[in-house]
């Protein structure tokens, strides 16, 4: 009999219309890093939420140190030493770091907050594990990586020794990922036990001791990492072989499609400019990637290019046409397709049906309306075509409320819409964020196909692997400036990382006085 600290036995959890966890068993040893792997929607987060007391399973039981425990809510979990970093951070934007950390376990006298002792403990912990934070900074003003530190500190502050990380690396830079891996190893050395969810097999290979694989809510198997390979893991996960390498033919470069000249965008968060004097071109037939750590101005730059935000100076031309002052609709009509970063906030009207979302960029075109009246039949047949062509899966076809679709399929719908619309340039921002390998493979293929069809592609990604795999040319952004232009074939992940962290730059501040 092995010595397990946590055993989740025969867990079954249902949601209306779906069994998210079907008789799943997972055992966690003390001091191990245990990876949990599965496609999107396989039920990983659900299983962890059950362990953390957010959901109650219909069947099954949980044991700690061999004793059956009942976890009715996060407080129970906390009492058992279980802590969790959620896939979508659970932080309050307008609270300070400190307030977020103590929320729920506030030190108090007669109900009055005692922040001083909390602050000391937080500072001590952050020093101990190298998790540097400013306790008084507002969450909305700090970077994603910093926010994750806050989430980790939340667990440490509660003296948890069973730590759940749900896709912690999806939003981090390579350096940050390395740091996190190190911290996780440190935790394990101290005897803390870790459950680690990720879609990135490299990371599993790098830190995990064992890995449990789920598929479509079912338990597939458990393997020791030292006895397995990436390929085997991915086969377990999706049930077939997955191609990690994107195959690109070399391609003739075409004309300049997008040309940004001396663009400056002011920031909504701080007083400085978010984008400073940025100039670059994108040509037909190439994939240019804007790489960089989150929060270095990529989002604002894209907003400026697509017209979501006004620029304070500079000019933008698209296919020779000056669109600096054009509104979003005009830019879209002039040939910009945009796969937005936040698909729920920008990309979709979740309460509209799939078909209505598929014409979101085109409903006003003569194809879909006469005299302001929408041609429902035309919309339907158009939607049917896209759904078929791009294999968008949903419960009720064109009339499915998009809200009820899975994330991967929501993303496919956006992709279908943006690719199918007339365009010269696709701006794709984090197009594969949070998607499983199968879905990623598909989306990558589509983007490369656009390039091969002679379109320009501007990719914004935080994931180095994606950057290295897809792009022809890489522009690195740091603190609102483009600090390096690299040839994807001639560079390495390490070098890229140095640019991203500001340690290296190859483009001088030539235009400093222009703004």
């Amino acid at each position: 009999m092995e010595n397990y600290i946590i055993e989740m036995l025969n867990i079954t959890k249902e949601f209306p219309g779906i069994i998210a966890n079907d008789n799943i068993t997972l055992r966690l040893k003390k001091g191990e890093i245990h990876a949990l792997l599965g496609e999107n929607g396989a039920g990983k987060s659900t299983l962890m939420s059950v362990l953390f007391g957010l959901y109650q399973p219909e069947k099954g039981e949980i044991k700690k140190n061999g004793k059956v425990v009942k976890i009715n809510n996060p407080n129970d979990a906390n009492d058992l030493g279980i802590g969790m970093v959620h896939q979508h951070f659970k932080l309050i934007d307008i609270f300070t770091v400190l307030e977020n950390i103590i929320l729920g376990v506030e030190p108090n006298k007669l109900g009055f907050l005692q922040k001083k002792q909390a602050r000391e403990k937080v500072l001590k912990l952050s020093k101990q594990y190298g998790l540097e934070v400013n306790p008084d900074a507002l969450i909305e003003k700090i970077s994603v990586g910093m926010q994750q530190r806050v989430e980790i500190l939340k667990m440490l502050y509660r003296d948890n020794d069973i730590l759940i990380f749900d896709e912690p690396t999806a939003v981090l830079t390579p350096q940050e990922i390395d740091e996190l891996m190190e911290i996780m190893r440190e935790f394990a050395r101290e005897g803390k036990s870790i459950l680690f969810i990720t879609h990135k097999l490299n990371e599993i290979m790098a830190v995990a001791d064992r890995c449990t694989v789920l598929r479509k809510g079912k338990y597939i198997g458990n393997v020791a990492i030292k006895d397995t390979t990436k390929e085997e893991l991915s086969r377990m996960m999706v049930g077939r072989d997955v191609n990690f390498k994107v195959h690109k033919k070399t391609k003739e470069l075409g004309d300049v499609v997008l040309s940004a000249h001396n663009i400056t965008v002011s920031s909504k968060i701080h007083k400085n400019n978010a984008v400073k004097n940025v100039s670059f071109n994108v040509r037909a037939g190439e994939i240019v990637c804007l790489a960089g750590i989150d929060g270095n101005g990529q989002t604002e730059l894209v907003s400026a290019l697509t017209g979501l935000e006004k620029i304070s100076s500079g000019s933008i031309t698209l296919g020779g046409k000056n669109i600096t002052k054009a509104n979003i609709r005009t830019r879209s009509m002039s040939g910009i397709s945009h796969i937005p970063e936040d698909r729920h906030k920008y990309g979709l009207v979740l309460d509209y049906s799939l078909e209505k979302n598929l014409v979101l960029q085109r409903y006003w075109q003569p194809e879909f309306q006469t005299f302001g009246f929408i041609k429902t039949k035309a919309v339907r047949s158009y939607a049917d075509r896209l759904i078929k062509q791009y294999d968008v899966r949903s419960g009720q076809g064109p009339i499915t409320p998009v809200r009820s679709m899975s994330g991967g399929n929501q993303q496919k719908a956006i992709l279908a819409r943006e690719i199918d619309k007339e365009h010269e340039l696709i701006i794709a921002v984090q197009p594969t964020r949070g998607l499983d390998v199968g879905a990623i493979e598909y989306i990558h293929k589509q983007l490369v196909a656009r390039r091969d069809a002679g379109k320009a592609v501007l990719l914004v990604s935080l994931e180095l692997e994606e950057v290295m795999n897809l792009s022809d040319r890489i522009l690195v952004m740091y603190e609102g400036e483009i600090v390096g232009e690299l040839d994807a074939k001639a560079t390495t992940v390490q070098e890229l990382g140095l640019y991203m962290s500001g340690a290296k730059r190859s483009i001088t501040k030539e235009n400093e006085n222009a703004g």
Partner: protein, 385 residues
């Protein structure tokens, strides 16, 4: 794996379809709320005066049928303010300012009615249009504040209710041609400015109910069949996505509130231009510094009608119907205020009737699935608070 949880019984499939169709569930939800509200009203009547409660309640329920003309007459203004609130709701705007728009509509209609000499055949039409313009103006301002200055439309419209009320009272009292101070009300409107009656005896019901229903149908079409409606609802659901899709949300916000204002303004015009059952008389406006109640009633009408223009037609007529019945119930000694209580209770229940509805549906579903597959794990252990 889906088919594991769902039984394949045909009857059940049908049931599920019905349960899923949005319009239907809104409709049954409203019915459920009405039923509960009426039961509540009956209980109050029983407590107030048990002896007559049955007759009184009967009167409340069916009394309106004896006064069909009045039912439609009184339904007209609240139908219009209901549209004003409901239409804006679709865009995610809470137009609590229907009162001010309604009052402005009254004023503009009155002004044209008294001050402009026009041929008889078009005088009333111009009055109506003027009322519409008045309402639009009072919708435009909150729209501009919202679109360009990010001022919460709830405050703006509350403020403009008061500003409109004071302004109209002042303008009317300052106009000798319109106001008779010794009667504390406006003079009688010339017959040419009054709306054509539908000729139902003892009732002021007039052409405006037909116009109102037509407008509701038009709004329904606008919302569901046009690109503007598509944009408007998209903005209501997700303003970021609508901006991303290149919709001009500033323009749409303003346009929506202007249209909403037009509806409320028309409501005011319809109310004040209604023909009187007494020859030579007319409706009159009393400047007494009171916010028009019909604006707030519009909120209730819109909510009960689920903000759907067709639903709003029914809810306005229904509310007017039981109000008329309630007046008749006073013949049995009941205070007509009972009706206001009943309506409030109906609105209250309608807020969570949708939920009760789906609970009922779930119950049925559970029974079915239990019968169909015994081995199915029960899905009822919903995580509680």
């Amino acid at each position: 794996m889906q088919d594991k949880t769902v039984s394949s019984s045909k009857a059940f499939d049908n049931l599920k379809k019905v349960g899923k169709s949005k319009g239907f569930s809104a409709f049954t939800a409203a019915l459920l709320a009405i039923l509960l509200g009426l039961i509540f009203g009956y209980l109050i009547m029983r407590i107030a005066s048990p002896a007559n409660s049955f007759l009184g309640f009967q009167m409340l329920l069916i009394g309106g049928f004896k006064r069909i003309g009045d039912v439609f007459y009184f339904a007209t203004p609240i139908l219009m303010t209901g549209l004003a609130v409901g239409f804006a709701f679709k865009m995610g705007l809470f137009n609590i300012g229907a009162s001010g728009q309604y009052t402005m509509g009254m004023f503009f209609a009155l002004y044209v009615g008294f001050m402009w000499k026009l041929p008889d055949s078009i005088h009333w039409i111009v009055c109506i249009l003027a009322g519409m313009v008045g309402g639009m103006l009072w919708g435009l301002i909150p729209g501009i504040f919202k679109a360009f200055l990010n001022v919460n439309e709830v405050i703006t419209s509350i403020m403009f209710n008061y500003i409109g009320m004071y302004l109209v009272d002042m303008l009317i009292q300052g106009n000798a041609a319109m106001y008779i101070s010794s009667k504390t009300r406006t003079a009688y409107l010339p017959a040419s400015a009054q709306l054509p009656t539908l000729g139902i005896p003892h009732s002021s019901v007039n052409i405006s109910i037909i116009l109102a229903i037509t407008l509701a149908l038009i709004l329904f079409i606008v919302l569901n069949k046009t690109t503007f409606g598509y944009e408007l609802k998209a903005t209501g659901f997700n303003k970021f996505a609508s901006a991303y899709a290149g919709m001009n949300d500033k323009r749409n916000i303003i346009l929506t509130l202007v249209i909403a204002g037009a509806m409320a303004g028309l409501g005011g015009a319809f109310a004040i231009l209604a023909p009187s059952t007494i020859a030579g008389s007319s409706m009159t406006y009393e400047p007494v510094s009171v916010i028009a109640a019909n604006g707030f009633n519009g909120i209730a009408v819109a909510l009960l009608g689920n903000s759907n223009p067709i639903g709003i037609i029914f809810s306005a007529v229904f509310i007017s119907h039981i109000q008329r019945g309630g007046t008749l119930a006073s013949l049995y000694g009941y205070k007509p205020e009972i009706i206001d209580v009943v309506i409030a209770v109906i609105i209250y229940f309608s807020a969570f009737a949708m939920l009760m509805n789906s609970t009922v549906a779930n119950l049925i579903k559970k029974r079915y699935s239990k019968k169909q597959s015994a081995k199915l794990p029960s899905a009822d252990s919903k995580e509680g608070a």
